[in-house]
């Protein structure tokens, strides 16, 4: 890909905006920003700036707006859909240096932070007072609040606690024209009159501007937490247990499922001492002690009724963390089973789980590619991982096609192509399988209202003719060459 060299006058302007140490143009250094957590797409940006204040972000965005230079905001670069993948000739705006907690208001359960603060740091800051920040993406120790806002990050516990959008009361945003505005409430007051701008901004994947401050809601730590592992012979039994728990009127903090491949990988990586089985359920209940004790008994009965052959209740905090460590390490652990893998993020109605798993098994057999499954079973959010070997000619293409076929399967059963990872660059061409032309055109009206010049993280989220071909009318159909695995989509 062409490396675009930035005009010297623009570089000088950028330098005066962020200072000499805030501007990165050295070819090798700039290259470290060429991708995010989705590593099979790479583009070297023209320059990287590392602002320290809202005013510096604003100054950079103004320069971009004036010269019509695309810009891409970046937090820790842990995103899995290519949301922080640079656009050609763009300026990457790295927010990692804006990492201060600005104020903590325990009485009102609010905390105000800069975008470079990591997810875990928010909880660390309020932990001693008995609070936590609820969204918990698996990358929480490194991923930033700015990135969480861009992607509307979820995590295992959003079944009960909601997503990032549930927990952001207001955010300061540098708009694509360089103006700074507050969306929602700067003070953390609910229901500010006007359109719900945080509602549409959060999860817009950096296409509507850059968050430079956020007022977050923090949550009181529950009185007690119980974590149960249950091993099943079949995924259908495990899935039925999940349905039974929900039907009984319980709302666990998390219900996770892992299949044999995922368990094998997690065991190899962190020795979580999981029982080896076809389907492992991890059920976490939290709340008042009396209630959790009663509910965990009920959950255990439901597990037994559905033929769980082993059940283990974590007895100590250390055991509980180990259980979660294994689950959260599952993606990275795949490296133990295959040289390469693609993580997907489809969502299905929970009741379709046994059927979708069976279909995926068939797809795996047909393609000869292994699919490992880890998922947030409570809300139907699947994370199928397609394992492949990039050194085998054509295998990466087949793996990509299989991963998109899985997403189409999710749409076919009434679900979504992404539950928490975002569309980014990775899934933008599948968007037209999920949404019809008028639906996408309506979203683009929002995009146009915020960013008429199309500069803020361009060519993401929405299908474009350049990247997806002229197939915006009606459902996506793979090109015959693509279907045959002899050409790739991108």
């Amino acid at each position: 890909m062409a490396y675009i060299v930035m005009d010297a006058t623009i570089l000088a302007q950028l330098k005066s905006a962020v200072g000499e140490h805030g501007l990165v143009v050295d070819r090798n250094q700039v290259q470290t920003y060429e991708c995010d957590g989705l590593t099979n797409f790479r583009t070297t940006p023209a320059a990287v700036v590392l602002p320290r204040t809202t005013a510096e972000v604003q100054a950079v965005v103004r320069i971009c707006a004036e010269h019509a230079i695309p810009f891409v905001a970046r937090g820790a670069g842990t995103g899995l859909s290519g949301g922080a993948l640079p656009a050609e000739g763009c300026i990457v705006i790295g927010l990692a240096r804006m990492n201060c907690v600005l104020s903590v208001d325990l009485e009102n359960a609010r905390i105000t932070v800069e975008p470079g603060v990591t997810n875990t740091q928010v909880t660390e800051r309020v932990k001693a007072a008995g609070y936590f920040y609820a969204p918990d993406p698996s990358s929480q120790t490194v991923c930033t609040i700015g990135g969480n806002i861009a992607e509307n990050a979820g995590g295992a516990h959003c079944l009960k606690y909601g997503f990032t959008v549930t927990h952001v009361l207001g955010c300061e945003v540098v708009l694509p024209n360089g103006e700074v505005r507050w969306f929602g409430s700067e003070h953390g007051v609910v229901d500010p009159p006007g359109y719900d701008l945080p509602g549409v901004f959060i999860g817009s994947e950096g296409t509507l501007g850059i968050a430079t401050k956020a007022v977050l809601r923090i949550v009181r730590r529950p009185e007690t937490v119980q974590t149960l592992l249950a091993a099943f012979h079949t995924a259908t039994d495990a899935a039925q247990t999940v349905s039974d728990i929900i039907a009984a009127g319980m709302l666990p903090a998390a219900i996770e499922m892992m299949d044999r491949l995922s368990i094998t990988a997690a065991e190899a990586a962190v020795h979580a001492r999981y029982p080896m089985c076809e389907a492992l359920l991890l059920v976490e209940l939290d709340g008042p002690r009396a209630e959790v004790d009663a509910q965990i008994r009920e959950v255990r009965e439901l597990c037994s009724m559905n033929n769980a052959w082993e059940q283990r209740l974590a007895q100590t905090e250390a055991e509980r963390s180990l259980v979660w460590k294994g689950r959260k390490a599952a993606f990275a652990a795949m490296g133990r089973l295959a040289s390469h893998y693609i993580v997907q993020d489809g969502v299905i109605p929970r009741t379709a789980l046994p059927m979708v798993l069976a279909k995926m098994q068939t797809m795996s057999e047909e393609t000869g590619l292994r699919i490992a499954n880890v998922f947030h079973a409570g809300d139907g959010n699947l994370h199928p991982m397609v394992l492949y070997d990039a050194s085998v000619p054509g295998e990466e293409d087949r793996a990509l096609i299989l991963s998109y076929d899985i997403l189409r399967l999710c749409v076919d059963v009434g679900g979504s192509i992404t539950g928490e990872h975002g569309v980014g660059r990775e899934k933008q061409c599948v968007m037209s399988y999920m949404f019809h032309e008028p639906d996408l055109a309506t979203m683009l009206r929002v995009r146009h209202a915020f960013d008429p010049q199309n500069l803020s993280n361009p060519e993401k989220v929405f299908p474009t003719p350049r990247l997806c071909g002229e197939r915006r009318h009606g459902a996506y159909v793979p090109h015959p060459a693509e279907a045959a695995g002899i050409a790739e989509v991108f």
Partner: protein
């Protein structure tokens, strides 16, 4: 009239106060009506008509009535989701969902008459938001028809979904100024099987405010809570919902936390209090928002007003919302509203007029002359993209949106 009859049939058209009321029975008819309006006829969508007085008055050419866009269209009870026509009344939806022991965990005003579309458009949330989140957290999909007749589906039918922009959130609370909602999909919650309710009274506001804070941070299974003034005392209504073992324990803890304050078990309908404010003859009803730590002081202020001979009934939701009904001479009301707005401005709060009563017409329902939303330019840009010729409820919302 003939042009509307051609689109929706004679049974869907009537005249009311010399305005055509058009009731389409599907999305395509809504689109056709709006396309016909594009020559410059303004449109207000109406459901049960319970909140038409909220916001600025709009003298629209056409009223698009959603009564024929009704019914629970899909209830996937095992997936805890339901798709409902916008013209369905909230109560009718809930009673259908209750057949499977489920509900949309939200208690809006006037549920017997208010429709799904109207509740969404005004973002009317009740006491359950403390536990289940507000309307925006419960709506997962929507079909809207834009001013130019575009029919767009947004969101989806699964509880977790980040594909594309979250338009259902943008449309929720937009007062019908961006598009006409024809259908919505909700995330559901099970109906609670075991609940218990208590009322704690105190003549002094401070211990009761402290109790409210203690309960919020106690970790108990609170279903709803409200703080209000009565004739000669303050009252805190508390509802717990949990398994029976926990309910027994919660009651003990509540009594321990309340100390010397009397705790009374009661089956009083705490959810009806908010609505009863609107029924007070001639009352002005305001919605105030503030930080939760400031709620008790606001209610105490209204109690003081009440002691001075003005009718002032206030009810506060711990999420940070106070609803108050006031009866006073017009000039006094205007001063009260002005004072409240000045007090709340500095902490980011707001005072919105929901029912005017004797409040002079010069008092803006939104306070546009003093305080506009900080990103009004962005909101206007969105309005312009969705409805460039301003056909949909023009000027109803804050900042003339």
């Amino acid at each position: 009239m003939q042009q509307w009859i051609e689109i929706v049939g004679a049974e869907g058209v009537r005249a009311e106060d010399r305005v055509a009321v058009v009731a389409p029975s599907n999305d395509e008819q809504v689109a056709a009506v709006l396309q016909r309006c594009s020559q410059g006829l303004s449109v207000t969508a109406t459901g049960g008509g319970t909140k038409l007085g909220w916001g600025n008055a709009v003298d629209a050419n056409i009223r698009l009535n959603t009564s024929r866009l009704s019914g629970v269209r899909e209830h996937s009870w095992q997936d805890l989701t339901a798709t409902v026509g916008a013209g369905t009344t909230w109560a009718a939806m809930q009673s259908e969902l209750a057949m499977h022991g489920q509900r949309v965990a939200l208690d809006p005003l006037f549920a017997e008459r208010a429709t799904v579309g109207g509740v969404l458009s005004t973002n009317d949330c009740g006491l359950l938001r403390m536990r289940y989140g507000s309307l925006r957290d419960l709506v997962i999909g929507m079909t809207i028809v834009l001013a130019d007749g575009t029919i767009a589906r947004a969101g989806g039918k699964v509880v977790k979904n980040v594909a594309g922009y979250d338009l259902p959130k943008l449309i929720t609370g937009s007062f019908g100024t961006l598009g006409i909602i024809t259908e919505a999909t909700f995330r559901l919650h099970p109906l609670q099987k075991n609940t218990s309710r208590f009322r704690v009274r105190s003549e002094d506001v401070v211990p009761l405010a402290e109790l409210m804070h203690a309960l919020v941070t106690s970790g108990m299974s609170l279903e709803a809570m409200q703080f209000r003034n009565e004739a000669d005392a303050f009252a805190l209504d508390v509802e717990f919902a949990a398994v029976p073992e926990a309910l027994a324990e919660h009651q003990q803890r509540l009594r321990a936390l309340a100390g010397s304050l009397p705790v009374q078990a009661c089956d009083h309908d705490m959810y009806a209090v908010r609505e009863s404010l609107f029924a007070i003859e001639g009352a002005t009803v305001l919605k105030l928002t503030t930080l939760s730590t400031k709620l008790a002081a606001l209610v105490a202020g209204f109690a003081q007003l009440a002691a001075s001979g003005i009718t002032a009934s206030a009810v506060a939701d711990p999420a940070g919302v106070v609803m108050v009904a006031l009866i006073a001479p017009a000039a006094g009301l205007a001063t009260i509203v002005e004072d409240l707005r000045a007090r709340l401005l500095g902490i980011g709060g707001s005072v919105v007029v929901l029912q005017r009563g004797a409040l002079p017409i010069e008092v803006d329902p939104w306070n546009d002359a003093v305080q506009l939303p900080p990103a009004l330019d962005v909101m206007r840009a969105i309005k312009h993209e969705f409805d460039p010729t301003r056909l949909l409820n023009p000027g109803r919302f804050v900042g003339g949106l």
